[in-house]
Symmetry: C2
């Protein structure tokens, strides 16, 4: 039994350095319980999702500790046999108590735990319903405002053609403020991350195992670079191994966290098609890059074009269309239009600019610019970072 | 004025050797008039189509000769200005009388004139309505029964990848009894024709100029080979030049004469997209072969996948699906099923077999086999040629 289950102080201690906000006791209990849940159920466990949605993470954990199958069945609205099976999945891990180690490692390597309701929680993953993540472990930082996000994924066994196209797409999109999500694998994923970083853009990597374990090992440096401006994310705690099941589950997060998914190269049975299928089932737009029909590395993409109704992607503009992005920033309908237009013109989607710099560029007072930037921020049209302000490309 | 307009005997003489059937006087007049019409209006002239549909080809020609705009307007249900303009288009050519030469050349080089109602008239082109051909000039021979037919077309400036794919598709489809239609151009068209011939299949070429003028000149041998088993076809008479307009108009016949159109490689503004657009407007299924997004020769195909809802074609089975072809021959519902099955098993879709050979293979009497083959022929499931009988792959 994990001691913090009955001990608010121990829970608060476990969370020290792992969460950012000041929390009341209920928040501590919920957050800590979600962290524990991420270690006792496998990703996408719908029974856990139903139970937590019904009685909260801490309450759900108490029912597991009490081995109370009837109460679990009643709360999750599942039958008793299924509740019993679920308890049999969860209790061994609760008893062995790996979660304390997970929190300790997270604190040590600078991993944050985020939960629904947090400013940086990617609300798009909630579309997964009871199969969504109960929490996310994050190295680096997710944005506080919605940013156009695309998953660029594909085969590990990519060709130079595939890597070339992945880099082109990723660099061009990242340079215009689109966030690039991928799975940090060799091949297409790595090319997409690297090109986004090299273009000065933002990219996030979803891992199947704990974010303290760089996987694949050869991408340790790449993952480190990603955390400096973007995020390396997992729904399993530090120390958890990247199992086959977790790879498949991880794919649903890649699909859910992104506005659209683009597969650059994929064999006939590639795991990327699994990501694409998740995106399709969530109603997210799907794109596939064609290639030579003689190339097995493109067979999965052609299958998507034929059978999944994927959009044919040949250049970054096709992806922007998929994302519903409008390259012309439309002026608003209020009296602030002209000042705002001048302000936006003074901002860049690529480089961060200080308030002073922006004021100089648009010929407005610092006070005016600060007010204007605040409005753009509220509007989700500008982004604030350590190096200043940046324009976000808006959606139609 | 063409003398045969008022002279049935001259018309009969003009048609000698150019049509196959024994004809009565009305048939002679109609057929001859259609041949004359093919020389005085440009392909796809809807006013000519409406007028001929209303009063017949010979009657329509009389109205033109009489320069009777009110009668033309009334018959074609168009306004008088339009009728006047149409007459101004047609009368100069009727007066200069090039059609006699067209008939003479046709007779000399073995070109046949076919019209709607003929056994070998490809009824699918009638879907073009008033813009359909009034007659077709044919070197070689069209089939008497509907045969699954696919247009395989593409850029003249093809890559070796495109030519390779065109050859693969064409050879595999032709070998299983699908007729391959194309435009005899260099690049994709030529590759499709050649591969069909080399596979022992049938292929037809649609020309923009007269079929007595091999175009392009470098394909004279290829066109000659095509006429030995298939057909070289045009809607303009012998001697007519392949103008730009006629190329575009020719594309609508390629689309209409085929059950489906597949574009293998095409630049962003390739003429093949014109063929594809015609196919789409006729409701014919459309396929496009993807290629590297870095290859301009595939840009038009990718455009078709994105904007024309074309099917992604990666192998011949995809085309068979597009054609609605069922590779398993379904047994019929009558008592003749077993004999017919044995008979079909004894036939080949690739090679012609004599009645004796078929009888030996299926263990039935010659009389039985002849009766069975007759039924299959009526059914459109077998084909009869100089070298014997062959199975036609049936549609679902």
């Amino acid at each position: 039994m994990n001691p913090p289950l009955h001990d608010p102080d121990a829970a608060r201690t476990a969370l020290q350095g792992v969460v950012e906000a000041d929390l009341d006791n209920d928040q501590v209990a919920d957050r800590h319980a979600r962290g524990v849940w991420s270690g006792i159920c496998e990703p996408g466990d719908g029974d856990a999702g139903l139970l937590v949605a019904a009685v909260g993470a801490a309450g759900a954990l108490r029912l597991v500790a009490a081995d109370d199958a009837p109460a679990v069945a009643a709360a999750a609205a599942i039958d008793r046999d299924r509740a019993r099976e679920a308890l049999e999945r969860w209790r061994p891990r609760l008893a062995s108590g790996p979660s304390a180690a997970g929190f300790d490692t997270a604190r040590r390597v600078g991993v944050r735990l985020i939960v629904p309701g947090d400013a940086t929680w990617p609300t798009r993953v909630d579309d997964l319903g009871p199969h969504g993540p109960l929490c996310l472990w994050v190295r680096g930082r997710l944005p506080e405002h919605p940013v156009p996000t695309v998953a660029i994924v594909g085969a590990r066994a990519a060709t130079s053609y595939g890597e070339h196209v992945a880099m082109e797409l990723s660099a061009e999109l990242a340079a215009t403020g689109v966030r690039i999500v991928s799975g940090a694998a060799y091949g297409i994923d790595g090319a997409a991350h690297r090109a986004a970083l090299n273009a000065g853009g933002l990219t996030d990597a979803l891992l199947a195992g704990g974010v303290d374990r760089p996987y694949p090992a050869g991408h340790e440096d790449l993952l480190g670079r990603i955390t400096r401006t973007g995020a390396v994310i997992s729904e399993v705690p530090c120390g958890a191994a990247p199992t086959k099941w977790r790879f498949l589950s991880r794919n649903r997060i890649i699909a859910a966290i992104s506005d659209a998914t683009v597969v650059v190269e994929a064999g006939w049975r590639s795991g990327s098609l699994n990501t694409a299928a998740h995106a399709a089932s969530l109603g997210r737009p799907l794109g596939a890059v064609p290639g030579p029909v003689t190339s097995p590395a493109s067979a999965g993409c052609h299958r998507m074009l034929r059978d999944f109704d994927a959009r044919c992607i040949t250049r970054s503009a096709d992806v922007r269309e998929l994302l519903g992005l409008d390259d012309d920033l439309l002026p608003g309908a209020d009296g602030w239009v002209d000042e705002a237009t001048a302000l936006r013109d003074a901002l860049s989607t690529r480089s961060w600019r200080t308030v002073d710099d922006v004021a100089r560029r648009c010929g407005q007072s610092i006070a005016h610019v600060e007010r204007g930037l605040g409005l753009l921020l509220l509007d989700g049209r500008a982004q604030h970072g350590p190096a200043g302000w940046r324009l976000i490309v808006t959606r139609r």
